[in-house]
């Protein structure tokens, strides 16, 4: 059978390409060094940041456990928080292990995208909640430490306290969720593209992103205004 002319043309093109490209063994070795550093740095940053919050929580909780030792109600609250923190630390380590696994590109493309989707729909969603809860635990324990009055802690306005804590939790979670949402939608769209063999869905997402850009600007302006207002009120 005569060989496909397209293949002949392709091989001819390759000959042209090899003439121009120059990558020797030293350059390949150099690429490994440079990229290994970059890759490790990005993984380490997330790992260190999340781990640092958990370690800070454990330290603060230990100090508060000592400070509120004679307050049985507080002891139970602090022990519950400690259990959540240790759980979050272990879960976080598992999430980062899984994250490294799904970025191993030696699997088939379809499997890889399915695995990534599963990761972002399941463990990553739980991780977002735990990261937000961890930030609230840290915030609460700093307050408990500062306002420790001989083993007792007074909340003047319980409704306000619960409201502010829940509000902070929602804002932290919402910000993280909003940031991750776009990436996840893209990934879903891309999987659908691969299945259908078309880029229509990705294109639609890009258009939707451009359409909703003004919403992000308004949100940013509102948050900046509220921050300035908060600072001015505090200074007065």
């Amino acid at each position: 059978m005569k060989k496909d002319e397209l293949i002949h043309m392709w091989q001819e093109g390759n000959d042209r390409m090899y003439r121009d490209e120059k990558t020797d063994r030293d350059m390949i070795t150099q690429y490994l060094g440079e990229k290994t550093l970059k890759g490790n740095r990005s993984i380490n940053f997330n790992l260190v940041f999340y781990g640092a919050v958990q370690v800070a929580n454990i330290i603060m909780l230990s100090m508060n456990l000592a400070g509120y030792l004679n307050n049985p109600a507080m002891i139970w609250i602090l022990i519950s928080q400690l259990a959540i923190t240790i759980g979050a630390l272990v879960f976080g380590m598992d999430v980062f292990y899984k994250f490294r696994e799904i970025n191993n590109y030696s699997d088939t493309l379809q499997n890889l995208i399915r695995k990534q989707l599963w990761f972002y729909r399941r463990p990553y969603e739980v991780w977002l909640v735990l990261a937000s809860v961890s930030a609230i635990i840290l915030m609460t324990n700093v307050n408990l430490y500062i306002d420790n009055d001989n083993g007792s802690y007074v909340i003047n306005n319980k409704v306000m306290y619960v409201g502010v804590t829940l509000g902070a939790l929602l804002i932290i979670y919402g910000t993280q969720k909003a940031t991750s949402l776009l990436g996840l939608r893209r990934l879903k769209g891309y999987l659908a593209d691969l299945q259908q063999g078309a880029l229509d869905q990705s294109e639609r997402l890009e258009r939707s992103k451009r359409r909703h850009r003004w919403l992000w600007v308004v949100l940013f302006l509102l948050l900046t205004a509220s921050l300035i207002f908060g600072i001015l009120t505090a200074v007065k």
Binding site: M1, K2, K3, D4, E5, L6, I7, M9, W10, E12, G13, N14, R16, M17, Y18, E21, T23, D24, R25, I28, T29, Y31, L32, E34, K35, T36, K38, G39, N104, Y105, S106, D107, T108, L109, Q110, N111, L112, I113, Q116, R186, Y190, D193, L194, G197, A198, L199, D200, S202, E203, E206
Partner: protein, 169 residues
């Protein structure tokens, strides 16, 4: 049991031998200014995935898989430029092969392939690299039947655009 340490010198030699695969993928999937980054990224991902290479498939097939996955997922993850459907008609003259080699059909072939959708691009690329249907299906994760159907369609499209007659058996 201790983890086996990968042989770096052997790895570098193998990648050097098959460096053509990386050049071709970079030229098909990345804009000119992103090609060097993608080349480095592919070499890095190959090294990262190397411990999982068990030697039960050809090094070349494994390399195609990792490199293509990096080009498609890595490019998008890092927001590097990629050819989109809406841009395709607008960027014809920017294609490096068309500008370098505008008069030949080889240049046109590169130009046409780089404008295909990602999965079609991968399938025709592997076909032109003379991978078997089994290998193409294994690398992409789609069925052999699907590979076959798509290839017929893509080749017809390319031949029509390049004014090539169907091969004679």
């Amino acid at each position: 049991m201790s983890k086996q340490v990968p042989d770096k010198a052997y790895f570098v030699e193998m990648v050097y031998t098959h460096m053509g695969i990386i050049y071709k993928i970079c030229n098909l999937y990345a804009a000119e200014e992103d090609r060097d980054d993608l080349k480095q990224e592919i070499v890095y991902q190959l090294w990262k995935s190397y411990p999982t290479y068990r030697g039960d498939s050809k090094f070349q097939s494994w390399m195609y898989r990792v490199a293509l996955n990096t080009a498609m997922l890595g490019l998008r993850a890092r927001k590097m430029k990629y050819t989109r459907l809406s841009d395709q008609e607008l960027t014809i003259s920017e294609d490096p092969y068309e500008t370098l080699d505008n008069d030949t059909r080889v240049g046109q072939l590169y130009g046409r392939i780089s404008k295909l959708k990602d999965l079609d691009k991968t399938i025709i690329f592997l076909y032109l690299e003379q991978c078997s249907y089994d290998e193409i299906a294994e690398i992409t994760g789609i069925s052999i039947k699907n590979v076959s159907v798509r290839l017929v369609r893509i080749r017809e499209k390319l031949r029509a655009r390049l004014h090539i007659q169907n091969p004679v058996s």
